[in-house]
C-alpha cells in the first residue's frame, strides 16, 4: 500500500519540480515549488518522520514560500523574452556544473559522514518514544554544539539581512 503511495507522491514531486524549472511566469513557478515542498512532506510521513514533515510544511511551504510570493507579487515581474538569454554562454558550463554537483551529492550521501546514529534507533524504538521527543533530546544532548553554532549562524544572518535592508538605523 505505502509503496504505491510512494510512487504516486514521488511522481507528483518530480513533475512539479520539472514544471517549476520550465515555467515562465514566476508566480506559477512559486506555486509549483509549494506543491513540491508539500509532496516532499508527504514522502517524509511515509518514511515515518512526522516531525520533519510538519517542520517542512510550516517552515518551507508555509513561511518561506509566502515571502517568495510576497516579493514576486510586489515587484510584479513581467515576462521578458530577452531577459531569458542574458547570459548566452552559460548553458554548457551550467550543465557541467550541474553534473558535478550531482556527483558530489551522490558521493556525500553514500559516505559514512551522513549515516548518523543507526543501530539503536530502529523504527519501532523511534515510534515508542515519538519522533519529536527523540529529536529534541538528541539536539540538546549529543548534538548541542552543532545546534548552537547553527542558531548563532542564523542569528548573524538575520542581523546581516536587517543591516543590508535598512541602511539608516
Amino acid at each position: 500500500m505505502s509503496e504505491y503511495l510512494f510512487y504516486i507522491v514521488a511522481a507528483i514531486t518530480v513533475t512539479t519540480a520539472v514544471y517549476l524549472i520550465f515555467e515562465k511566469n514566476p508566480v506559477f513557478g512559486a506555486l509549483y515549488l509549494i506543491q513540491t515542498m508539500v509532496s516532499l512532506a508527504v514522502l517524509y510521513i511515509l518514511l515515518e518522520a512526522q516531525f520533519v514533515a510538519a517542520v517542512q510544511i510550516i517552515v518551507y511551504a508555509g513561511a518561506i514560500m509566502v515571502l517568495f510570493l510576497f516579493v514576486i507579487m510586489l515587484l510584479n515581474l513581467d515576462i521578458k523574452e530577452e531577459a531569458r538569454n542574458a547570459l548566452p554562454f552559460q548553458r554548457i558550463p551550467a550543465i557541467l556544473m550541474g553534473i558535478a554537483l550531482f556527483t558530489v551529492i551522490c558521493i556525500v550521501i553514500r559516505s559514512k559522514l551522513l549515516q548518523g546514529k543507526q543501530d539503536q534507533y530502529t523504527t519501532a524504538y523511534v515510534q515508542s518514544i515519538g519522533n519529536t521527543k527523540l529529536i529534541g533530546n538528541l539536539l540538546f544532548t549529543d548534538y548541542l554544539l552543532p545546534f548552537e553554532i547553527t542558531s548563532i549562524l542564523l542569528f548573524v544572518a538575520a542581523i546581516g539581512a536587517i543591516m543590508l535592508a535598512k541602511r539608516k538605523l
Binding site: 508566480v27 506555486l31 509549494i34 508539500v38 512532506a41 512526522q50 516531525f51 510538519a54 517542520v55 510544511i57 510550516i58 511551504a61 508555509g62 513561511a63 509566502v66 515571502l67 510570493l69 510576497f70 507579487m73 510586489l74 510584479n76 515519538g130 519522533n131 519529536t132
Partner: protein, 331 residues
C-alpha cells in the same frame, strides 16, 4: 474485507462527515448570530423579515448568492482566480481532524474516540495546515488583476506571517506544561485545572493573535473598506465570494476550537455530557469574537505591525521563559 477494518472505515468516515456537517451548520448559524448580536449591541433589530426574527436570512442569502452572476475579470489569471476560494476554505476545515470534541464513547461494542485522528504531532499539524491558509487569500489578491485586491492580499500575507509567530509561541507554554504535542493529551491534562488559570498571559496572546490571524475586526486591515474597497475579494462575486465568507467563519470556528482545547479545558466539565461542554465553550469563544467586533474600531496598519512585533512577540517569549523557570523551580 475483515470486520475490524470495515468498522474502522465506517467509524472514521462517520466522524469526518459528522464534523464537517456540524462545522457547515455552525458557519450558517454564525452568519445569522453575528448580524443579530451586533445589531442588538448597536440598539438595532438586525434581519427581521425572513422567518421569525430573520432566522431564515442565511438561507435566503445563500440562495441569492447562488443565482448571482459569476464574474471573472477580463485580464485575471483565470485558473488561480477559480482555485483561490477553495484554497482558502480547505485548510480551515482540515484543522478539525485533530481537535478532540468529546470523551470516549461506546457504540455497538466499539470504543470510539471523539476525535477524527489523534496524532502525536497534533500541535505542529495545526500550524502546518493554518500556514497554508494564507495562499488562498494571496492568490485571490494577485489573480484578480486589481490593485486593491493585490494590496489587500499583500497586507494579509504580512499580517498573517507576523501573527502566526505569536500564535504558535503563545501555545508553547501549554505544550511545555503538558509535555506532549498530542491534543488529546493536552485535554486530558486539564481534567482538574484549566490551562487558562496556569497560562493567563498565554491565553491573552493567543486570542489577540487569533483575531489578527483570521482577519477579524479590529485587525481586519486586509479588507479595510475605506482604503481598499473590499481587499482581496473585491473582484469576486456569486458563490466564490460566499466561499471566502465561509472560509473566514470556518477559520474563526477553528481558532476558537483550538483556544477551547488548549486553554479552556477541552470537553471537560461537570454534569453535562462532554460534547455539550465543548460546544458551549466554543459558542462562548465565538460570541467573544462578535463582541470584540462590535466594540473596537479598526487599527491603523503601522499600529498593527508595531503591536505584533514590539509588544506581543516579546511578551510571548517572556511567557515561555517564565513558564520554563517556574517548571525548573518546581521540579
Amino acid at each position: 474485507m475483515n470486520t475490524e477494518l470495515f468498522a474502522y472505515l465506517v467509524i472514521a468516515c462517520t466522524k469526518i462527515v459528522l464534523v464537517f456537517g456540524v462545522v457547515q451548520l455552525m458557519i450558517i448559524s454564525m452568519i445569522w448570530l453575528e448580524r443579530k448580536i451586533m445589531a442588538h449591541m448597536q440598539v438595532r433589530l438586525g434581519p427581521m423579515r425572513v422567518g421569525p426574527h430573520g432566522l431564515l436570512q442565511p438561507i435566503a442569502d445563500g440562495i441569492k448568492l447562488l443565482f448571482k452572476e459569476d464574474i471573472i475579470p477580463a485580464k485575471a489569471s483565470k485558473f488561480l482566480f477559480i482555485v483561490a476560494p477553495a484554497m482558502a476554505v480547505i485548510p480551515s476545515m482540515l484543522t478539525f481532524a485533530v481537535i478532540p470534541f468529546g470523551n470516549k464513547v461506546q457504540i455497538f461494542g466499539y470504543s470510539v474516540d471523539l476525535v477524527i485522528t489523534d496524532i502525536n504531532i497534533g500541535f505542529l499539524y495545526i500550524f502546518g495546515v493554518s500556514s497554508l491558509g494564507i495562499y488562498g487569500i494571496v492568490m485571490a489578491g494577485w489573480a484578480s488583476n486589481n490593485k486593491y485586491s493585490l494590496l489587500g492580499g499583500i497586507r494579509s500575507a504580512a499580517q498573517m506571517i507576523s501573527y502566526e509567530l505569536t500564535l504558535g509561541l503563545a501555545l508553547i507554554g501549554v505544550v511545555m506544561l503538558t509535555e506532549s504535542l498530542s491534543l488529546v493529551d493536552v485535554v486530558n491534562a486539564q481534567a482538574k485545572l484549566w490551562n487558562i488559570i496556569l497560562q493567563p498571559v498565554g491565553f491573552f496572546i493567543y486570542f489577540t493573535s487569533a483575531i489578527a490571524e483570521v482577519n477579524r475586526c479590529p485587525f481586519d486591515l486586509p479588507e479595510a473598506e475605506s482604503e481598499l474597497v473590499a481587499g482581496y475579494h473585491t473582484e469576486y462575486s456569486s458563490m466564490k465570494f460566499a466561499m471566502f465568507f465561509m472560509a473566514e467563519y470556518a477559520n474563526m470556528i477553528t481558532v476558537s476550537a483550538i483556544a477551547v482545547t488548549f486553554f479552556l479545558g477541552g470537553w471537560h466539565g461537570p454534569f453535562l455530557p462532554p460534547v455539550v461542554w465543548f460546544m458551549l465553550k466554543l459558542s462562548g469563544c465565538l460570541f467573544f469574537f462578535i463582541w470584540i467586533r462590535s466594540t473596537f474600531p479598526r487599527l491603523r496598519y503601522d499600529q498593527l505591525m508595531h503591536f505584533g512585533w514590539k509588544f506581543l512577540l516579546p511578551l510571548s517569549l517572556l511567557n515561555i521563559l517564565i513558564t520554563g523557570l517556574v517548571m525548573v523551580v518546581k521540579g
